[in-house]
């Protein structure tokens, strides 16, 4: 199916159109971040400015559209620049881990035998270390910082894709057109790229769409454990972690600090929802039975 047609159909479907619009909105926010929330100095633009030194969150007021979070971090600024972080984490982590997964899954299923055994046991080894333990040890080794968090997420995040890809390739490997190509003496690279990857990529792509949205949540879980982005770095996951001790409100009102959780929560939800909607629509489009 042509990409153009996929796009047209994505736009025609109300839900995925909604998703696309939201993503577009976030893209615009990310692109125009320097205008929406001008940084103090360009080199530490991702450093959320502090309105003061107060620990307690303060409600929205002039100059601080969304209020300030724990530690007087400007929520608006954090949200705007955090959009860039969300895309960066999503694209880089999902992209790289999917790439590794595809390579390992394909090689393993295509060649089978000892290679398959080798790769799958390596996958088992990586799966055996609980993700958060691995991420914590790795960020301790590499040092704090978003790049290192991404390295950890990629290093311990490719196994799912590898397994999915492997099962897909195993299925398609025995299809007649592949067997025919093998019989015709086509080179392995040609078969892998022309027939196998082209035919197996869509489930992986759909999975990747779904993962795009959830990466922000994973990042917030890491922030919760103290191994996420550095304190004060514009990152949605951290923004919502700032709300941790304030969610239940203060005396008299459970909603006293609503803005600390509602604002980042809504952004994360919309982001994740959009990717999911697009992913769902994508699957419907690519599902041959629906056509």
């Amino acid at each position: 199916m042509e990409w153009k047609e996929i796009l047209t159909r994505l736009i025609k479907n109300k839900l995925s159109l909604f998703g696309l619009i939201i993503i577009l909105f976030f893209v615009l926010v990310a692109v125009f971040a320097p205008y929406l929330a001008p940084p103090r100095s360009p080199e530490d633009a991702y450093e959320i400015p502090r309105a003061g030194w107060q620990v307690e969150p303060q409600p929205p007021r002039e100059g601080y559209l969304f209020g300030t979070a724990q530690g007087s971090y400007d929520i608006f600024y954090g949200m705007v620049w955090g959009t860039r972080t969300a895309f960066r984490i999503g694209v880089i982590v999902v992209g790289l881990s999917s790439l590794f997964g595809i390579i390992i899954g394909t090689l393993s299923a295509y060649y089978g035998g000892i290679i398959d055994e080798f790769f799958m046991r390596i996958t088992d080894v990586f799966m055996s270390i609980p993700f958060l333990v691995a991420a914590m040890v790795l960020t301790t080794i590499l040092g704090k910082g978003l790049d290192n968090v991404m390295i950890a997420l990629v290093t311990f995040g490719w196994m799912g894709t590898a397994r999915l890809m492997r099962s897909q390739v195993l299925e398609i490997k025995n299809e007649e057109f592949v067997q025919a190509s093998i019989a015709l003496g086509a080179s392995d690279t040609r078969i892998i790229f022309k027939h196998i990857i082209a035919n197996c990529i869509f489930p992986v792509l759909i999975q990747a769409f779904m993962r795009m949205g959830s990466m922000v949540i994973t990042a917030s879980a890491l922030s919760f454990l103290g191994v996420g982005a550095p304190e004060g770095y514009a990152d949605w996951g951290q923004m919502i972690t700032f709300a941790r001790d304030w969610i239940l409100g203060g005396q008299g009102s459970a909603l006293k600090y609503w803005y600390t959780v509602v604002i980042p929560g809504t952004a994360i939800m919309l982001f994740s929802l959009s990717w999911n909607l697009i992913g769902d629509a994508f699957r419907d489009i690519l599902d041959p039975k629906l056509n």
Binding site: I122, D124, L132, V137, A221, L225, I240, M269, L290
Partner: protein, 343 residues
């Protein structure tokens, strides 16, 4: 099948070896002073410490292979070492926390899987109708908010306001019963032990403490199972044999529950394995919110403190679980799908 199971277990040592090498080499990339953080885990403890003395006491500056062989030598003799972060031997640390997490995971899996499948099926049956949209949006919300947000809200509603489900694992009275000499700890699972000891109060109390974490886990993981069930169910509902069943005059209820669901469950089983593993390893946030001492918290603490015997212990235990869960998944595959069973 038996061959297959044996083969799986024969692989286990290799995986365990790989895991230990991977973890060990990661930790050994750090210098001895960094690894001192295993023994000094708080700035307040820095005072009066003679760092170099500590380093030689724990052999932190020995070459990595010496440290590794020291550790593996112990393992061969059944000694998994001392976990500094837990203040217990590793085996004890794991076995004193594992039942708690297992109990949580077991009880959580039931509503998560049942509820998730039920909602996923409903959502697929009402594909693209209002119900489907609402369920999908709710599930995205469930998947999009960090666990601690739900955990704290659940705690506030069911404990803070209603007072039904307190945090922790047991209340003081029930804990006192469990400590008493007459109470035999058969399994370490409070509910089960309560039943076996015929202590209804313990059962009730333990169960009461489980509900909060379970509800929280359910909210988060429901959406996961739901999505998979939904898409798998959608695919199944378009299968020819569903039309066949309808053409036979089978009522829609049975078409869905008998003919479609069982087929739709096949991919769900595939993800249920990793999900259970995730539940067992990733419950740290829920454990933290509900003051529930389990393996997740331990894993996090060991990692934070670079307590390598602790990390290795947890990792080895997870490899074992992975193999076990994969086995269970494969067996359930066979139960559900005759095509696999008979091969």
């Amino acid at each position: 099948m038996i061959n297959y199971i044996i083969r799986r277990f024969l692989i286990l040592p290799f995986i365990l070896f790989g895991v230990t090498i991977l973890v060990f080499s990661m930790i050994m990339m750090l210098g001895p002073y960094q690894r001192l953080s295993t023994y000094i885990n708080d700035p307040a403890q820095l005072k009066g410490q003679d760092m170099d003395k500590l380093i030689s006491k724990y052999g932190l500056d020995d070459p990595w292979y010496e440290q590794y062989s020291r550790w593996i030598g112990g393992v061969v003799h059944g000694d998994f070492g001392w976990s500094e972060s837990a203040g217990q031997p590793v085996t004890e640390a794991i076995f004193s926390r594992f039942p708690a997490t297992l109990e949580l995971a077991l009880f959580a899996v039931i509503p998560v899987v049942m509820g998730g499948i039920w909602l996923g099926v409903l959502s697929a049956v009402h594909h693209n109708q209002k119900f489907d949209h609402i369920i999908r949006i709710i599930s995205t919300i469930g998947w999009s908010f960090p666990t601690f947000v739900f955990g704290l809200l659940v705690l506030m509603i069911f404990y803070g306001v209603l007072g039904w489900f307190p945090p922790g694992r047991l209340s003081a009275d029930a804990a006192a019963i469990i400590r008493s000499a007459e109470f035999v700890r058969y399994t370490g699972l409070n509910v089960l032990d309560g039943i076996l000891n015929l202590e209804i109060n313990v059962v009730f109390d333990a169960f009461r403490h489980l509900i909060g974490p379970i509800v929280t886990l359910a909210i988060v993981w429901w959406s996961y199972i739901l999505r998979i069930t939904r898409s798998s169910m959608l695919e199944t509902l378009r299968k020819d044999y569903i039309r066949t069943a309808r053409a036979k005059g089978v009522a829609e209820k049975f078409v869905i529950n008998k003919h479609a669901r069982r087929n739709a469950l096949i991919p769900v089983v595939t993800v249920a394995g990793p999900m259970v593993l995730g539940l067992l390893g990733g419950v740290v946030i829920v454990e933290s919110v509900f003051g529930y001492r389990g393996i997740g918290q331990y894993a996090a603490q060991a990692a934070q403190q670079l307590d390598y015997s602790g990390i290795l212990g947890v990792a080895m235990y997870f490899s074992f679980l992975l193999i076990l869960i994969n086995l269970i998944v494969d067996v359930s595959y066979a139960v559900i799908d005759p095509r696999i069973r008979l091969e």
